[in-house]
Symmetry: C2
Subunit: 157 residues, 2 copies
DNA sequence: TTCCTTGCAAACGATTTGCATTGGA
DNA sequence: TCCAATGCAAATCGTTTGCAAGGAA
């Protein structure tokens, strides 16, 4: 859980990750508390965005849901965590790109699970070109792109 | 599945749209009732996915929320309407691709509004290539791709 | 007449919040 | 010390559902 990963393209090790997050929180007069550390550690060890319920399942009842949500809220406004809304009524959270690296998602239409997907550099480049090209044709300022692929995961196939 | 779609840009006229939808509903032993017509007509006149509340605002209180949700549910299982979940706690609905044509979305990070975006043929081709290329590298069966661009809309800029 | 639909109100589930208590810098 | 953070319980909010009445084939 509190493990890190060294996938190419991924950025920060857990230790330096904690340091960075601590700094970020301090900048916002917020503390890096036990609950928040638990949330961050769990997210860092995940292979995709996790819902509040899933996080609590991993963490255990030592962290009440209300606290969990509050941790996610703070980490969100501080820019450490980003929410995703892939299925009705359930938000899923993951570490922001500056901590996790840029990636996309495989969203299972059946069970709703979401898995991270890192594109090869060459693909990523094409995606970026597309977004820029599009942005220049409309009165809209692109910030992110969410190139999610929906389908059926191996478990549900 | 009642196929159809005459490609570039938008597809079916409102009248033939109603006909197609009527058929589709009949195939599922469902009726094309007043409420369902109101929902379809409103969606057909929209420039992007709309939430239940937004739909009711356009339709008026002559259609209670519970009925509206039930209409959306039926139209959904029948394949006429597709839900999107872009913002916490609010689902947005739009007509399925076989009725509306394939397109993408501009999602405003500020106000949550979603606008349809049709890509030029050439772009669309590239996106399709990307998805196929990716699908062949993972144990996952792609069905759709959601190439949404998040940013700031002109009103919120 | 037979079912599908609708309305209303109550029920639900995910998320949020008030308030008193705890804890960290 | 002092204010942010936490826990619990109650409150919200979008959405769903039970049930009796309405409507189309």
């Amino acid at each position: 859980m509190a493990e890190n990963d060294n996938r190419p393209g991924n950025t920060v090790t857990t230790t330096s990750l904690d340091r960075e997050i601590g700094i970020r929180l301090k900048e916002h007069d917020a503390r890096y508390t036990r609950g928040r550390r638990l949330v961050v550690a769990t997210l860092a060890g995940s292979d995709g965005p996790k819902s509040a319920a899933e996080l609590q399942a991993n963490i255990g009842s030592s962290l009440p849901l209300s606290s969990l949500y509050r941790s996610l809220a703070v980490l969100g406004t501080v820019g450490v965590v980003v929410p995703h809304f892939t299925k009705k009524g359930v938000a899923r959270y993951e570490l922001a790109e500056w901590l996790q690296g840029h990636h996309h998602h495989l969203v299972c239409l059946d069970c709703g699970a979401v898995e991270d997907l890192a594109l090869p550099q060459s693909y990523e480049e094409k995606v970026r070109e597309l977004v820029e090209g599009i942005g220049s044709t409309v009165s809209f300022t692109p910030v992110n792109h969410a190139f999610d692929i929906e389908g059926i995961c191996s478990r549900c196939a």
